[in-house]
């Protein structure tokens, strides 16, 4: 491994390759900040450029730089505008946006940057040491386990089932699951619930739904309730600082989520989204009393957890790509295409056939993460200033990006009608105090949940897989615990309160 490291180092720190890292990260961050442009589209844009370079190492370094950059930048719109541009950053808006509203936009961006850096770097270390061994871990999960993992992911909604909200959160989750069934399903190629509309055949697009649920109602609330727009001193630079106590409290979160996120990322098909939801759910359950109540209202832990997890997961997704040649996500599928075009065939022999490519990519991950941190920290005060833009300019700005983000995804004007329609529904639901995040979680996980469930049922001809596969059972039990624990704690707290009252 040391030998490999040296090969990688010499190759990665050549001036040209260093430039590729910086350029890739820069492009990725800047475009990634715009909602609607996820890592996948940015990488697809860069492919002709990368192939033009000719040298596979430099090309892959450039593309992975773009990839990390896009993920790094993706959280910005989640935090500042409540407009998550990629599914992997939805969870970052749960606490990131409330922080920004409280006037801590700078701090939120700093935490996101540090968490991303740590997640990416720790992920890269794990990748370097364990990549070959982990290829077998990636294959441990069958459809049955994926189904169970999605159920665990769904349990993240428990975090929104705050006081007396359990029924509402469940209703929203189910609505999300229902919306997820629109379009072609897992069991046949016949479209479902499309009412004969061609535009609905491939289902609702994530971007459109995310903008409609989060960004649009927020903009409408700003219009209707001017006092909400007063965000305090969010533009001030001193808010960037994290206190020693805060650093102490998020350090263990970052440690845990780097590991957890990485391992979830290793599983083909799970990826950054599941990792971020699970990270959020797990950290919320681990948190004690008062800290737990903070989740969803601007908790620094609630922001650090998904931000660490999604970056670690992105690094993890390189394991099946590089060691098995299996793309675990849409983005890695495009990367695989680019690699093949450059005459590099990822797979078990990559490390022996072209060690320079393999190691240079890993080394460039460290460099990339470092570059991103250096690039982002000084920019944060300026980015955070977006929120100090007067309301009259900010609202059109949000609306513009919301509409553009949704249209750009498919180049289809029907998306705009769907967006506005759902946006109105979402605003009404918010008035009625329904939490909207569970709807989005249900929608994102629903499709994968159903696909994997259908496969498991088909392979085991019934529910047998739940008992025959211990890991499935274990995960399902974990999901149950994650859902019931908060309720039980609430119950106990009420009991105690009653007890005190009785005692008096």
């Amino acid at each position: 491994m040391l030998e490999g490291l040296l090969i990688g180092l010499t190759s990665a720190i050549s001036p040209f390759n260093l430039m590729m890292v910086v350029v890739g990260c820069l492009i990725g961050t800047l475009i990634g900040m715009l909602p609607g442009l996820g890592p996948m589209s940015i990488i697809a844009i860069m492919i002709p450029v990368a192939i033009g370079i000719g040298d596979p190492t430099a090309a892959l370094i450039l593309l992975s730089g773009v990839y990390y950059g896009a993920i790094f930048g993706g959280s910005t719109s989640s935090i500042l505008l409540n407009a998550p541009g990629v599914a992997g950053t939805v969870a970052s808006s749960f606490d990131g946006y409330p922080m920004a509203r409280k006037g801590q936009a700078g701090k939120a961006l700093t935490i996101a940057a540090i968490a991303s850096f740590a997640g990416g770097t720790i992920g890269a270390i794990l990748l370097m040491i364990f990549a070959p061994a982990l290829s077998s871990v990636a294959l441990l999960f069958h459809s049955a386990e994926y189904f169970a993992l999605m159920v665990v992911g769904l349990s993240a909604i428990a975090a929104f089932a705050g006081t007396g909200q359990v029924a509402k959160a469940l209703m929203m989750t189910i609505l999300g699951l229902i919306l997820g069934t629109v379009g072609e399903g897992a069991l046949s190629n016949m479209p479902r619930f499309t009412f004969g509309m061609m535009e609905l055949q491939s289902g609702f697009s994530f971007i459109t739904l995310a903008m409609a649920m989060f960004a649009l109602p927020e903009a409408l609330f700003l219009v209707m309730n001017p006092s909400r727009a007063a965000t305090g001193d969010s533009g001030k630079i001193e808010n960037l600082r994290i206190t020693r106590d805060e650093a102490k409290s998020i350090a263990p979160v970052i440690g845990r989520q780097s590991l957890q996120g990485f391992f979830i990322g290793v599983l083909p098909g799970a990826g950054a989204t599941i990792a971020s939801f699970l990270g959020y759910a797990v950290e919320r359950n681990i948190a004690k009393g008062k800290e737990q109540e903070e989740f969803g209202k601007g908790s620094i832990k609630g922001l650090a957890a998904p931000e660490t997890a999604n970056n670690a997961a992105c690094t993890g997704s390189f394991v099946p790509l590089l060691t098995l040649g299996i793309p675990g996500s849409g983005t890695t599928a495009i990367l695989l295409g680019a690699l093949l075009a450059l005459n590099v065939t990822p797979g078990p022999r990559l490390m022996t056939d072209t060690p320079d490519v393999f190691w240079a990519v890993i080394i460039s991950m460290y460099i990339g993460n470092l570059v991103l941190l250096i690039l982002n920290l000084p920019l944060i005060p300026y980015i955070a200033k977006i929120l100090t833009i007067p309301r009259t300019f900010l609202i059109p700005f949000i609306l513009f990006f919301t509409l553009m983000g949704s249209y750009l995804g498919q180049n289809n004007s029907t998306e705009l009608l769907i967006l506005v329609g759902f946006g109105v529904v979402a605003t009404i639901l918010r008035f009625a105090d329904f939490p909207l995040a569970p709807l989005l979680i249900g929608f994102i996980l629903g499709t994968m949940l159903e696909d994997n469930f259908a496969r498991a049922m088909q392979l085991y001809r019934g529910f047998g897989f739940i008992l025959e596969r211990p890991m499935t059972l274990g995960l399902l039990v974990l999901a149950l615990v994650l859902v019931l624990l908060p309720s039980y704690r609430g119950y106990r707290a009420r009991k105690r309160a009653e007890g005190v009252a009785d005692g008096d």
Binding site: G52, E199, P268, N412, L459
Partner: protein, 328 residues
């Protein structure tokens, strides 16, 4: 859920990048057309996208076309782009739409209201055979072993693929089973969301065999991960001649997933000929050879009426099969 997609900005960037790359290469041939606009019915990174961009790249690099632009219009499994091309037929004479086997399948099921007959058929250009693969350490050495294992316990032998039941990978597996004299409706087909997930399913041991594109199978076979049991080609393919065909194992199973180009209905005859000549010339160039080799596909140039006859034959093959499987 189409989360990802191309964007106008992306198009411009990609187009400029392609042009810039093209400019670096000296024009070797006489320019045959000022510009071509490619309409891609799906998002970035898919097979359609790669074919259109690869073709455009070869055309520009070979100097046959001055400028190539791309437009991704996803939705309705390709139906949105087709409807768009027909609706704007009069103003779309400069547009070539890429498509492939799914246009036949989806028109049969009625997911797409129109069929290839409603468009001007320019030419089929490339194709990918299909293959049935098992893991490299599988005890199944040949199609015969696989069929023996299947006959022993039909329901325990699962064949997977990167498409839903009724989709292309399923139909290919059914063609093979039918060719082997088995009931094509009886075997256990497990559909995955994408080829990568299906591949993971095979390697993890969840499924016993995988129905996939031959070009993908070659990449994995070269890495020593899978063994190719059979290819749906009439004879062994030079790109990987270690893989036996189904035909030589006594199984009548031929199939090619073609990719080709369509134009708007009512395209003037001279314009159609110009497109066909341009594509025919391109396919002889080294620039195209580089793209073709990269995609791992085979040339199957079939212009105009030949293309129509080929599509009608495929429509009949797949239509009969889908009726038997109960999908129609």
């Amino acid at each position: 859920m189409n989360t990802f997609g191309w964007t106008r900005r992306a198009l411009i960037a990609a187009a400029t990048a392609t042009v810039a790359l093209g400019g670096a290469v000296q024009a070797q041939a006489e320019q045959m057309m000022e510009s071509v606009h490619f309409l891609i019915p799906g998002g970035a990174g898919g097979g359609w996208d790669g074919t259109a961009r690869g073709t455009g790249e070869a055309l520009v690099n070979a100097g046959l076309v001055g400028n190539a632009t791309y437009e991704n219009l996803s939705g309705g499994g390709g139906g949105v782009a087709i409807a768009n091309l027909i609706e704007n037929a009069a103003s779309s004479h400069g547009t070539l739409m890429v498509n492939s086997t799914p246009i036949v399948i989806r028109a049969l099921t009625g997911e797409i209201a129109q069929s290839f007959r409603d468009l001007t058929m320019v030419a089929g250009t490339v194709g990918d055979y299909a293959a049935l693969v098992v893991t490299a350490d599988s005890p199944l050495q040949s199609m015969e072993d696989a069929l023996a294992s299947y006959r022993e316990a039909p329901m325990d032998f699962a064949i997977g693929g990167g498409s839903v039941p009724g989709g292309m990978d399923h139909l290919v597996a059914a063609i093979v089973m039918q060719g082997a004299g088995e009931d094509p409706t009886a075997f256990n087909y497990i559909g995955y969301d994408a080829g990568g997930e299906a591949m993971a399913g095979l390697l993890s041991g969840e499924i016993d065999a995988l129905s996939t594109g031959f070009s993908e199978a070659i990449a994995l076979a070269e890495q020593g991960e899978v063994r190719i049991l059979g290819v749906t080609a009439p004879e062994r393919v030079p790109a990987y001649d270690a893989a036996p065909t189904f035909a030589e194992q006594g199984i009548d199973a031929q199939f090619v997933n073609w990719r080709g180009f369509f134009a708007a209905p009512g395209l003037p005859a001279e314009q159609l000929t110009a497109y066909q000549d341009m594509l025919a010339t391109m396919m002889e160039t080294p620039e195209w050879e580089a793209v073709r080799a990269r995609m791992g596909l085979v040339n199957i140039y079939r212009p105009g009426d030949e293309f129509t006859a080929f599509l009608e034959a495929q429509e009949k093959q797949l239509g009969d099969l889908m009726r038997e499987l109960g999908f129609l």
